[in-house]
Amino acid sequence: MDRKIRVLVGKPGLDGHDRGAKVVAAALRDAGMEVIYTGLHQTCESIVEAAIQEDVHIIGLSILSGAHMTIFPKVLSLLEKKQAKAIIVIGGGIIPREDMKKLEKKGVKKLFGPGTPTTEIVHWIRENVGARSGKTRPRKSKKTRSAKKR
């Protein structure tokens, strides 16, 4: 049986603009993915913890508050600390291009600006999760990989 793509859509910080997050969540669902929506006002810690327990492939964060340079790096470092770096971090919102470039260098895999069609996001996720479960997470090597992490 094919592994379903699981995505966590998160709204970190105090920003209440959830239109984009909800539209993307609905679009991913309609593309056959399982979407865990965390609700508003989440801390980075609770987002990372949820992503781990839900065993998602992808964390997608929506930030329109200008706090992106604080939040994305924090989520990345928490994932690393929790040995869950395999989870891909992507995002969207009101983010200047210059900051997008900086964040992508720091390890955010992809940032989508305003006006991105949801189909583009769906497509990107399919491509990249496919690559991940093919290479870094084959079903049978689970035990060996778990062993390495000890």
Partner: protein, 543 residues
Amino acid sequence: MKKDIWDKKLKTCKERDHDFTTVSGRVTKTLYTPDSIRDFDYDRDLGYPGEFPYVRGVYTNMYRGRLWTMRQFSGFGTPKDTNKRYKYLLNHGQTGLSVAFDFPTLYGRDSDDSLARGEVGKCGVAIDTLRDMEILFHGIPLDQISTSMTINPPAAMLLAMYIVVGEKQGVPMKFLTGTIQNDMLKEYQAQKTWIYPPEPSMRIITDIMAYCTEHVPRWNTISISGYHIREAGSTALQELAFTLKNGFTYVEYGIKAGLSVDKFSPRLSFFFNSHLDFFEEIAKYRAARRIWARLMQDKYNAQSPRSYLMRFHTQTAGCTLTAQQPQNNIMRTAFQALAAVLGGTQSLHTNSMDETYALPTENAVKIALRTQQLIAYETGVANTIDPIGGSYYVEALTNELEQGVYKYFAAIDKMGGVVKAIDKGFFQREISRSAYQYQKSLEKKEKYHVGVNIFEEEGKAEMELLRIPKQVERDQVKALKGIKRERNNKKVKEALRGLHKAAADGSNLMPKILDCVRAYATLGEMCASLKEEFGEYHEPIIF
């Protein structure tokens, strides 16, 4: 019959391949004629400007007497940064101030709160104590300008700070003019800035209404806002219906609290969005005025004509701005601003072209302000009152919207009113469905957005952007620590205890909040003390 001839000819014409519905999906006909408004009665349905039912405007000579207030919403960084921007805007002909607060302030949290990390001064100005407010309005005489503050759960605290700044400038509170948004219902529905559950929030709001009616009579106590409902993705009709229903709900709560409807309702004002669909927007404002006047008279038995007047502020639609080809946003905003003016707005904010990237630069804000000045001084649209009135299309659309609103009202009443419908997630669901539908119609190219799904260009625009340095957060936190050291902490504790007591015993909160503010209690401290009594709100699960 000429119409028959035209009908016949029309059938032979080929239409271009286009979706002829409004941006909200409303079907439009090829042509509107006197037939489209057959039961139309000028005196009953339109009337004269400043006369019932106020469709043509709330004042007798409208813009011939006074132009709308050009009020650019702004705020960023520290109070000092924003003070400088205010002076810049006033020097360039802006006629009123509108304060944008940062997220921690909007949520009643101090700059040193753990959830405030990375957000201090980013989306607006950071205000922690009275000291910040003193800096924000330094050198700006409060008796000469009107100030609008976009603030909701902690509205009472920010108003109290403004009052005390006035006191210190020697301006008694009865002369202060301005607006606090203070519209919690739309927060639960759309903008999602909340602290307490709906019922205690409504109590705070009625406390403010009661206090201001008596002590700050020129202050607009609630700005009932459709803007955020629309930004969250609603249609024009939903914006109109939900906003009006919220307005009537505040009226009902005021009456229930024992206030006289003619005393407090003239201080209610409204705030609408101006979106892409030109005529639909104009019709929306006209329908809003008519519905408000009719129901205030028929249903709520208001006697004073001032209670029938719907005065409103308009902001062009931020959600229609594009990151692609950002200069196009100047034109978009101009059309939207024109619709607001033709719709008879009392004040207007025009968005800046760079706002899909960051807060606007000085230069971008100036162009946005100039757009309004151009409409006012060059186009001639302000020379005569309601030049669109009598258009078959707009009048038909106005009627249609009004009828649609009554249908929504009936549905909400059936659920037990606005607060119950919020609890059921009705508004939230309606809005997110419309938002998703619109996104899908863009992706299917049923609707167009220039630069996004039609006439796209390769390559990315480079723009100069406003950067908020990280230093802002550190400075603000440091200033806050300083205040906490300097102030009389015993006095602060006493004042906070007084506030908590008032929350518990049901007496008006405003005098106690003023005590706290004068003692330099922080916003976070005041909100925490109310939270103890009122609890916190958690959102329902709605998609």
